[in-house]
Amino acid sequence: MGILDKIGIGRLREGLSRTRSGLLSAVTRIITGGQRIDEQMLENLEDTLIAADVGAGTAADIMQALRDRSHTAMSADASALLPMLKEEIGKRLAAATVSAVEPFSLPATRPYVIMVVGINGVGKTTTIGKLAYRFTAQGHRVMIAAADTFRAAANEQLEIWAKRAGAEIIQQKQGADPAAVAFDAVSAAAARGIDVVIIDTAGRLHTRTNLMEELRKIHRVVGKHTPAAPHEVLLVIDASTGQNGLQQAKQFGATASVTGLVLTKLDGTAKGGIVLAIARELGYPVRYIGVGERLEDLQQFDPQQFVEAMFEA
């Protein structure tokens, strides 16, 4: 047999439970200080980054910066390592933290149009429900456009979320032209003095060119009605996503003019480190994080907290 036998399932299992305590102790050892920085320590930290899905490339880049600094600063004391590491990550996330728009406060433009895109099942519809709720809670009038006309029961799902959030909804039947739904919603919103329009779109893989073109069309048609709209295009990324997330961001960025990210399902054990790679390469800000399936489970992205969580077991 191959490595399955040799690894030994039991052994790997042990290894995994050790991961948690192993990482913790690696980090605590560094924080407690008094120790000299050694290669093993650096490797442990690199593993921590990789385990968080930041990617081997980004991890290597961060570790290089750290090696350079710990040499020049002559800080042989390991306690300096973790703060330095957090700083390096923070630097790379910087692009991801600045945004023209405050997360939960609405700019003056009316109607303010937000379009939500992403691959299948990442949490677009759920995020829209949560986001709508944030705005209605502030007294804004929200309209949701059901431009996912493909997926089975997408309408029914969105209806439930709209009701929970106290938002209006514009929909057509399954199979209708999504761009037409979006256009309808924006016109209705303008006519009725709605503050925010949030457009739900069908999940699609970034490799499907025709479906990606459909997004471009929705974007264009909305812009025809209200110049500068959509004002925001949010790309939703599932926290458990691996290195493919970077491809997703590139493709959606190119066709749908993404302005920011939403990182969902952070209530699990996945760290969502891929947004670090995305921030480093594409500079998209992370606007929100999803931390559950209830209305209130949408939060503002806090880079400090995000980095801290990366080093928690």
């Binding site: 047999m1 191959g2 490595i3 399955l4 040799k6 690894i7 399932i9 790997l12 299992r13 290894g15 995994l16 991961t19 593993d47 990789i50 385990a51 968080a52 899905d53 990617g55 081997a56 490339g57 691959i119 299948n120 099942g121 990442v122 949490g123 493909f150 997926r151 089975a152 029961a153 029914e156 799902q157 209806e159 439930i160 979320w161 399954q174 999940g203 893989l205 970034h206 490799t207 599932d238 458990s240 996503t241 691996g242 290195q243 493919n244 997330g245 491809q247 399902k265 209530d267 699990g268 054990t269 996945a270 760290k271 480190g273 891929i274 399936e293």
Partner: protein
């Protein structure tokens, strides 16, 4: 990205190719590159490390050091190990001898469970089964509607009971199947996080209530490093029998499958390749191994490497034959090669002129051992110039190898026949045809 990785690996391979031998240092370099490829494909870093350690152990071993194209052999080892790890044969659904067969489908939120349930029902129906879908996701908004719509669109029976809890829905669905002569029940469950204790208990309760014959864990092909944690946690709670890898129609490399196999070891039973209900395929370990390694056509690369390996040997041998230098030493070399390569008949076919040898020149497997022993009992001079082996020498060789003098005689006669045959062939200019023959055999 794909091309990038392939190119990177190719460069390393090119550097190794033609070097004749692998030093430990440049094997390490290849393995580092491959490890990087695995990480980029989302194989868990711990799993990747174990895997590379294992390959390294084999790569620095004799096989590779003696080979002519070490880089290719390393890739072959890596590829073979990946295929091995992914599981070598297709494993289907286990049906209960006493219908209905109950299949429970579980996994994280949005992984593709509901879609897979519909796909599986359609697939089983095409095989002559009468499946019933159970809408036991009572949590997600419109989950029941979703299954109903899928059922309506695809002519599938769906059992629903709005307002009931998941356990009740599952239990009553099985009861319903029994009464309605449905032979398979597919239970769709809500997406849940492995750290959500209440929800994990619900899953356990569903399992306890309907005693599924098969539990399938659905994983998104895009999943990163955390795949080991979730796969393990769900396995601890549910002891699922197989996994389904969804969204394989994208460009995710699917390294999560390696993580899953290395962690819980259950077979991957299906892959999802689209949103449409017919986008369900069997799992092919070799294809996924190629995809993860990022070398689209690594199988043919390996095969080419194999052919090249044989051809290079054949060319060297051909030169010897041309010069009539085919000695007993070469004969022994060939034998040792034969022992390494496996099926005798097939290997004999690769020997120049072998297919022209008289029938009595063929050796059976057990004879190999004796022949080897006899040649090993000869002096170097005897091996190079067999004509000096007189009666005394024959007795000594027989004694030294534990064979009879007749055996030694037979060996020498076979060798002589072979050499005579090769001489004529070498002079006759029929080498080209022979070489073609070799290629077919190799």
């Amino acid at each position: 990205m794909f091309e990038d990785l392939s190119r990177k690996l190719d460069t390393v391979l090119k550097r190794l190719r033609g070097q004749g031998k692998v030093s430990e240092a440049n094997v390490a370099e290849t393995l580092r590159e491959v490890r990087r490829v695995l990480l980029d494909a989302d194989v868990n870093y711990k799993v990747a490390r174990q895997f590379m350690d294992d390959v390294l152990r084999r790569a620095v071993g004799q096989e590779v050091l003696q080979s002519i194209t070490p880089g290719q052999l390393i890739v072959k080892i890596i590829y073979d190990e990946l295929v091995q790890l992914l599981g070598t044969s297709h494993v289907g659904i286990t049906f209960s001898p006493l219908p209905p067969t109950v299949i429970m489908v579980a996994g994280l939120q949005g992984s593709g469970k509901t879609t897979f349930c519909a796909k599986l029902a359609l697939h089983l129906m095409a095989q002559g089964h009468f499946p019933l879908l159970a809408a036991a996701d009572v949590h997600r908004p419109a989950a029941i509607d979703q299954l109903e719509v899928l059922g309506r669109q695809n002519g599938l029976n769906v059992f629903t009971k709005r307002g009931a809890d998941a356990v009740t829905v599952a239990r009553e669905a099985v009861e319903h199947a029994r009464l309605g002569a449905r032979d398979v029940v597919i239970v769709d469950t809500a997406g849940r996080l492995h750290v959500d204790e209440v929800m994990m208990q619900e899953a356990e309760a569903i399992k306890a209530a309907v005693q599924p014959h098969e539990i399938l864990f659905v994983v998104d092909a895009m999943t990163g490093q955390d795949a080991v944690t979730t796969a393990q946690a769900f396995h601890t709670r549910l002891h699922y029998d197989g996994a389904v890898l969804t969204k394989m129609d994208g460009d995710a490399r699917g390294g999560a499958a390696i993580s899953l196999r290395a962690t819980v070891g259950v077979p991957i039973k299906f892959i999802g390749t689209g949103e449409k209900p017919d986008a369900l395929e069997r799992f092919h370990p070799d294809r996924l191994a190629s995809r993860i390694l990022g070398l689209g056509d690594i199988v043919s690369l390996v095969e080419k490497a194999q052919t090249q390996f044989n051809e290079e040997k054949a060319v060297a041998l051909e030169q010897k034959i041309r010069k009539s230098q085919f000695t007993l030493e070469d004969f022994l070399d060939q034998l040792l090669e034969v022992k390494k390569m496996g099926p005798l008949q097939q290997v004999l076919g690769m020997l120049p002129g072998a297919n022209r040898l008289p029938a009595n020149a063929e050796v059976d497997e057990s004879a190999l051992v004796r022949i080897e022993a006899m040649i090993r009992s000869m002096t170097t001079e005897e091996r190079r110039k067999p004509q000096i082996i007189n009666g005394t020498r024959r007795r000594r060789i027989a004694l030294g190898s534990g064979c009879t003098v007749q055996d030694v005689n037979k060996l020498l006669k076979q060798y002589e026949q072979m050499q005579r045959m090769m001489k004529t062939l070498g002079k006759g200019g029929r080498m080209d045809r022979m070489a073609r023959g070799m290629r077919i055999h190799s």
